[in-house]
């Protein structure tokens, strides 16, 4: 009986020792320097990349009309407010130039006065003309002296010039009257095109300077996105390329569009290139001017090359490369990279060929002497 207990006790001792030893060995092999580094490998694929360019921009009107006053004056009334739709030529408001009516009256009086002067000059011309003709007729019969004839001729010439001068004065006064009428007509602010009022900077009663903007008018059917792209990689951007537009207010509803214009002026401070992207079909309801938009422009397909995920790229001794697995040992392979797409795929121009296995993820930094263990994934991915 006691032998049985002794054997059982020995068994318990050995079991405990074995358990501790196993746990210890597990600990040493799984956490210390002897532990294998878990890696996930992937195969280099040969395929064509579909590069795209991502930029952000703001919604802008294609044309913005700033309606300003031409003269200094006081705003008498404004007929429209922000949000109003107006037709071309519609009167939006009126500027009152303080003494314009009086100036017009004065000018009208001046025109009348000039008409009278012209009439007087013409009467004089008529009279001096007849006198000159009469004296010229009497000269051959020596009834008048040559001196008197010359004096009459001279009077006639003066009367002609006076009549011409009076006519010019009348024309000038009439033109000035027309100019004042034009100015009065211009004190009505008119919409240059049909569109939507997006801003009103002044209220009635305020005084405006010549050139000061009162209204901003846009064509709400002509909206586009002013997009900024990073200059790096923007070489292949071209007009008419298709684009996807996501407005901040309509995040789940992408819109399509195309590159309508590439700007010649780049932003030197932010190192960005600017372009205008037009909607294929304008979103309804229309986005507000200045709203943020994300734009992804599809660039042309690239030639087929070996392609890897950018997570595989490592730097060792100032060289970019990937870790290959050669007989369970990692080997660093320097590579030359080409262009990339927005999904994180990068072209490999040299150093790799399709079908090679490269390390995509590793649980620790690899060295050429690391022991590795290949696994499906390192973390649970949804």
């Amino acid at each position: 009986m006691s032998d049985f207990f002794k054997q059982k006790k020995l068994l318990a001792v050995f079991a405990t020792i074995a358990l501790l030893a196993t746990a210890f060995i597990w600990v040493v092999l799984s956490s210390g320097p002897l532990a294998k580094i878990k890696i996930v490998v992937t195969e280099v694929q040969e395929r064509q990349l579909e590069p795209a360019l991502f930029g952000i921009g703001t919604v802008e009107a294609r044309h913005t009309y700033r309606i300003a006053s031409n003269t200094l004056g006081r705003v008498v009334n404004l007929n429209v407010d922000v949000g109003a739709r107006v037709d071309a030529g519609e009167i939006l408001g009126m500027i009152d130039v303080v003494d314009l009516d009086e100036k017009i009256n004065a000018q009208a009086a001046l025109v009348e006065s000039n008409k009278a002067r012209l009439s007087e000059a013409q009467a004089r011309l008529d009279y001096t003309g007849k006198q000159a003709a009469r004296y010229r007729k009497l000269l051959p019969s020596r009834s008048v002296s040559e001196e008197i004839d010359a004096a009459k001729q001279h009077e006639w010439t003066l009367a002609r010039n006076q009549a011409r001068s009076a006519n010019s004065e009348l024309l000038r006064a009439q033109a000035e009257l027309l100019a004042l009428h034009a100015l009065r007509n211009d004190s009505y602010l008119r919409a240059p095109v049909s569109g939507l009022i997006i801003a009103r900077h002044i209220d009635p009663g305020a005084t405006v300077l010549a050139g000061q903007t009162l209204f901003e008018l846009i064509d709400p059917e002509q909206l586009w996105i002013d997009v900024r792209f990073d200059q790096a990689g923007s070489k292949h951007l071209a007009q008419q390329q298709p684009a996807q537009i996501i407005l901040r207010s309509q995040e789940l509803q992408p819109h399509t569009g195309h590159v309508a214009r590439l700007e010649w002026l780049a932003d030197a401070v932010t190192e960005e290139r600017r372009a205008k992207v037009l909607f294929t079909q304008q979103p309804q309801p229309a986005p507000s001017i200045g709203e943020l938009a994300e734009v992804t422009v599809q660039l042309p397909l690239l030639a087929s090359t070996p392609v890897i995920n950018n997570a595989a790229i490592m730097r060792q001794n100032s060289q970019l490369g990937v870790w290959l697995i050669d007989q369970q040992q990692p080997v660093f392979q320097p590579i030359t990279l080409g262009r990339s797409d927005l999904k994180g795929n990068v072209q490999v121009l040299s150093g790799l060929s399709a079908g090679q296995q490269v390390v995509l993820y590793s649980s620790k930094a690899l060295t050429a002497n690391s022991r590795v263990q290949q696994v499906e994934q390192l973390v649970d991915t949804p």
């Binding site: 210890f24 600990v27 995920n309 990339s340 999904k343 994180g344 993820y361």
Partner: protein, 400 residues
């Protein structure tokens, strides 16, 4: 030859094992505390390793970018990249903030990385899943310690970012997980004021007749744009050419660009020597006390165990056992207890280390030192017990 120690252990096996386990848990705590200290120092060092830089260029007369705020114009890197010996230079921004996501917020070090591609300075060194950032806006790579998963959306200031990749051990010097976002977004996140502050600022400027002059309506928008734009970064990370001498390049930059430059050694000095010095010393002090207390407890246990069998030792002496045999028995038992304690301690520390919120680094060197310390302590402690055992009177064996 019979092993007296073995027989005795076998005799009171259960008691011995449980004492060993108890001792082991105490050793486990001590090893863990050493791991906490090492982890703290390691956090500071991985931040430097992860930035993959040879030189850090920061605002003059600051200890930036980690220990002090530092601001540089974002075109400084161009001048730096032109210096002899520099292979490449990249802008970087760091901002510790609460990152909002569905169901709460996480403290993280948001790092803005320049659009220079994977493998460049400042970029995540390696990933566990997903991919590196490939758009220049609204994508992020997060450390797995942040708890984010691939495909999650997180909010930083007014924008939301899609998590496209996960890293490991990419933490700040205080152990906060890092989140990498494109530089342009990071600049905005760091320097953009809140919408309220912007609106109030606009109102203030509009009230100022100098800026809002009706004779020159162009001034106001220009002033506002100037106020709201940001062209600053926190540091420029420099990678050197293979043959370049870091000290020489640093000296050139200091002299000609009049900027503060730190190399790896100096940066480590700032982080370990200044930033985490007090808290690390605090942990170290606690570790020392814990080690002393553990040693005392080991000594008490062995002494108590020996005293528990003082009658048996008296009997051994009575039957004429050599002192050498008794000494060997006590030392062997003490060592066996130490080995069991150490194994249990090491297993326990390894098992519970990953559950700590901050990194616990159990180094092989610490483990070996721990083993040597435990065994030496056992031998030392057994000397006291041996002294007591050898002094026992054989007559006690038959006495009351």
């Amino acid at each position: 030859m019979i092993s007296l120690a073995g027989r005795d252990i076998l005799h009171a096996w259960g008691k011995f094992v449980f004492t060993g386990i108890g001792l082991g848990l105490l050793i486990g705590v001590t090893l863990t505390m050493a791991g906490v200290y090492r982890g703290m120092v390691d956090d500071a060092q991985v931040l430097l390793d992860n930035s993959a830089a040879d030189l850090w260029i920061v605002q003059k007369d600051t200890l930036g970018p980690y220990a002090e705020p530092s601001n540089l114009p974002d075109d400084t890197w161009r001048a730096v990249a032109n210096m002899p010996g520099v292979a490449n230079a990249a802008n970087v921004t760091y901002l510790t903030m609460q990152v909002v996501h569905d169901g709460g917020d996480t403290r993280a070090l948001v790092t803005g990385i320049a659009n220079t591609g994977p493998g460049s300075a400042g970029w995540p060194l390696r990933l566990l899943a997903g991919r590196q950032v490939s758009k220049n806006h609204y994508e992020a790579v997060a450390d797995i310690a942040s708890g984010f998963k691939l495909g999650d959306r997180v909010h930083i200031r007014r924008n939301s970012y899609l998590i496209v990749g996960l890293t490991q051990r990419m933490v700040s010097s205080s152990g906060d997980p890092m989140i990498f976002i494109p530089l342009l977004d990071a600049q905005q996140a760091q320097f953009l004021k809140s919408n309220d502050a912007l609106a109030q600022n606009r109102r203030r400027i509009q009230r100022n007749p100098v800026f809002n002059n009706p004779r020159n309506p162009e001034v106001l928008p220009a002033v506002l744009e100037l106020q709201e734009s940001n062209t600053q970064v926190n540091a420029v990370l420099v990678q050197l050419k293979a043959q370049a001498e870091p000290a020489q390049v640093a000296e050139d930059i200091r002299r000609w660009l009049r900027l503060q430059v730190y190399d790896r050694e100096q940066m480590e000095g700032i982080l370990v020597g200044k930033l985490i010095a007090t808290s690390a010393r605090q942990i170290l002090m606690f570790l020392v006390i814990l080690a002393v207390v553990s040693a005392a407890i080991v000594a008490f246990i062995i002494y108590t165990l020996t005293m528990g069998k003082i009658r048996e030792i008296a009997v051994l002496k009575l039957i004429g056992t050599h002192n050498k045999t008794i000494v060997a028995m006590i030392i062997q038992q003490a060592l066996a207890l130490g080995v069991i304690g150490f194994i249990v301690g090491k297993i326990a520390a390894t098992v519970w280390a990953p559950f700590f919120p901050k990194y616990v680094l159990l180094t092989t060197q610490d483990t070996i030192s721990g083993l040597i310390a435990v065994l030496s302590m056992c031998v030392l402690a057994s000397f006291v017990a041996i002294y007591a055992a050898l002094r026992v009177n054989p007559a006690d064996a038959v006495g009351g």
